[in-house]
Each structure stands twice: as structure tokens, then as C-alpha cells.
Amino acid sequence: MINKLDKVITLDDSSKYMVIDQGYYDHVSYLYVSKLDQDGNLTDTLSIFEEKENTLTTVKDNELLKKLADYFKKRAEKEV
């Protein structure tokens, strides 16, 4: 598993995301990302993506989504 914290990821549709947090669950990497605008600035569009086999996909499992949200929320709350 590669640490992608603070990395900027470009997808094949040219959309760009900055990884603001990352967690692993059941051997799978999940990224909390902010979409970048055309100038490379972070936007208020946040997403939680599953990273698998060099692709990013939307997390659709609601229970899993809540677990991840809980995890990312606690991590953000700890930041000063």
C-alpha cells in the first residue's frame, strides 16, 4: 500500500484531486479527496474514493461509507 497523503492525483478524464486523508480497511485503500479546479486550487467538493488496481471509484456501500467518514472525521478533529 502506497502512502498517497498530500499527493495530487490525475485521472484519465483529466480531473485532479488532492488526497487530504487516507485510510485502509480490509486491505483496501480509501482516499478522502478534494477536487481541484482548473488553476490547481482545492475546491469544496470532497469525495471518499476507493483505490483499487490503479483506479478510483465511488464508495457505494453506505455502512462502509459511514465507517470511513467516522475515521476521517476523527482524524481531522485531531489536527490542530
Binding site: 484519465d12 480490509d26 490547481g40 486550487n41 469544496d44 467516522d70
Partner: protein, 308 residues
């Protein structure tokens, strides 16, 4: 609703500016994660715009990729104006609430955001008030969490309840300042004030499986899934039904043989009726025992998961 499925073509280090921007989004990250936890938004991308506000007031406009929304989904105009008027008057309290209208199991529309003083705004049945950020102690103590429970019911032609199953808890919670409306098939069980809930964190009861940048050994099998519970319950019901059918058929055969042989003795009818009642009582007792066993199985399984 945005649904992403894209191949990674490049990964580069972020700039210092982007890292600073990330730090400035900390509250937004917490807020959106809170909304997901509250079940107010489902999967996909989310954003919550906090544009320029007048005199430092919280901003009403909320936009997300979930079409949160210019259409107000049946919210009464009077509610909207009440909320906005109150926001105009509220300058010092930073607490924000979102009024959320459930759309389906996965998505919800956030209709508007209002301050704590508006938290007693009238809500429709399909709406809930979700605490967003910066809640005060008073607000935590005055907001109540209810868990939704459902049961199977049957009614006659007049709509009168004729049969009702056991209440089953759901994963749905709502936050209200007043008691939600119950029905014969749905009820809301008071779980406590938000302060109590947040203290004990029962809203999303999770095995703690997250570690920083490391793999996990805990699996989701530490607890029975809903699907497994349903399967077990169905198996138990089928077993009971099978036993019942067999015994009842035997009883019917017995009754028919008695009736055909001695049709003129009503006392025998009475006896078989008593036997049938006794038998039914036993079956009911058996069902209760099976349900108890199933409950114990679930509790034991959860308990085992927690102690691993």
C-alpha cells in the same frame, strides 16, 4: 449525483499552497464527514459552500453534487421564511443545523441550513434536523436522538390492526426537538440527548478497525451482517413452520378420524379443540424460545467480535 470511476494516470506531490488550502478545509472535512455519519448524504462527492455572509452570519445557500437543491421538496414556504428570519436575528451563535429531506436509502436533500435558535423549526415527517458543527452544550442537551423501529402488521378492510409482528430495530436515526410521530408499523425509540449520544457514540457502533496507513486484521465477520440475521431468522421461521405444518396436519388427521368414527359425540370435539389449543400454545412457546436463541446467537457473535 456524481459517480466516479477513473483510472489514475499521474500522481505528483502537492504544492505548499495546496497544503495550506488543505489545512483551511479542516472544518469542511469534519462537517461533511458528520453529514455522512448522520446519514444525510450518501456516496459520491459533496461540497458545502460557505460564501460571503452578511455581518458574519451563517450562510443559507448549500450546494452539493447531490442536487441539494433549489427545489424545496415540499417544504412549506412558511418554514423557509421562519428559518431565514431567525438567521437574520442570530449573530453570535455559530451552531449550524441542516434540515435534511430524505429522498431514498442513499441520498438526501439538504434544504437549508439554520442556526441553533431555529432548531425548533417545524419539520415534515420526512425531514430531520442534523447538527452540523460548533454545537454548544445547551444545544446538545436539547436535541434528542430517536431510533426507528418497524414491524410487520396486517389490517382488515377497515384498516384496523389485526396482527402485528415483533418490533425490529433499524439503522435509521433521527434528531428532533420533539417526539416524532409513531404509526402502527413504525415507532421511534428515544435514545437520549445528543450530548449523551455523542459521549457514548452509539449512533454508529463500529469495531475500531482503522489504523494509520497500515493494514487491518479485523474483518466485518466479527458481527453478524443484516443479511445473515435475516437468513438466520428465515431459517428459524421455516423450521418452526415446518414443525407446525407437520404437527397440525397430524392433528387434523386425528380430528377427522375421530369425527368420522364418532360424529355424534360433541365432547370429543371439545377435547380435540383443547388439544389443538394446547398444541398451539406449545408451538408459540417454541417460537419464543427460537427467537430467544436467535437473539442470543446475535449477542454472542457481537460480543465475540468485540473481544477479538
Amino acid at each position: 449525483m456524481e459517480e466516479k470511476n477513473g483510472r489514475i494516470v499521474e500522481i505528483v506531490e502537492s504544492t505548499e499552497v495546496q497544503k495550506q488550502q488543505k489545512n483551511s478545509k479542516r472544518n469542511l472535512r469534519i462537517m461533511i464527514a458528520s453529514l455522512i455519519l448522520a446519514g444525510s448524504v450518501g456516496y459520491g462527492a459533496m461540497n458545502l459552500s460557505q460564501g460571503d455572509s452578511k455581518e458574519g452570519q451563517p450562510v443559507v445557500n448549500v450546494n452539493t453534487d447531490y442536487h441539494i437543491s433549489s427545489d424545496l421538496n415540499g417544504i412549506e414556504i412558511s418554514n423557509i421564511s421562519t428559518a431565514q428570519d431567525s438567521i437574520e436575528e442570530t449573530k453570535s451563535n455559530p451552531a449550524l443545523y441542516a434540515v435534511v429531506t430524505a429522498k431514498d436509502g442513499e441520498t438526501a436533500d439538504i434544504s437549508y441550513i439554520l442556526t441553533a435558535d431555529d432548531s425548533n423549526v417545524k419539520l415534515e415527517d420526512d425531514q430531520q434536523l442534523v447538527l452540523v458543527e460548533n454545537y454548544t452544550e445547551d444545544e446538545l442537551n436539547s436535541s434528542f436522538l430517536y431510533q426507528k423501529e418497524q414491524r410487520q402488521v396486517s389490517t382488515d378492510e377497515q384498516g384496523t390492526l389485526t396482527q402485528a409482528g415483533e418490533w425490529q430495530t433499524t439503522d435509521d436515526y433521527i434528531i428532533r426537538n420533539d417526539a416524532p410521530r409513531n404509526s402502527v408499523a413504525t415507532r421511534y425509540v428515544f435514545k437520549g440527548t445528543l450530548s449523551t449520544v455523542l459521549e457514548n457514540s452509539p449512533v454508529v457502533e463500529l469495531p475500531h478497525v482503522m489504523l494509520d496507513n497500515s493494514e487491518l486484521n479485523v474483518t466485518t465477520q466479527d458481527t453478524l451482517t443484516d443479511e445473515q440475521k435475516v437468513t438466520l431468522s428465515q431459517q428459524a421461521q421455516n423450521t418452526i413452520k415446518s414443525i407446525y405444518d407437520d404437527k397440525f396436519n397430524s392433528l387434523q388427521d386425528y380430528q377427522e378420524s375421530v369425527q368420522s368414527n364418532q360424529p355424534s359425540f360433541p365432547s370429543i370435539q371439545t377435547t380435540t379443540s383443547d388439544e389443538r389449543q394446547q398444541f398451539l400454545d406449545k408451538i408459540n412457546q417454541k417460537i419464543t424460545e427460537m427467537n430467544q436463541m436467535l437473539d442470543n446467537t446475535n449477542e454472542q457473535s457481537v460480543s465475540e467480535g468485540k473481544t477479538r
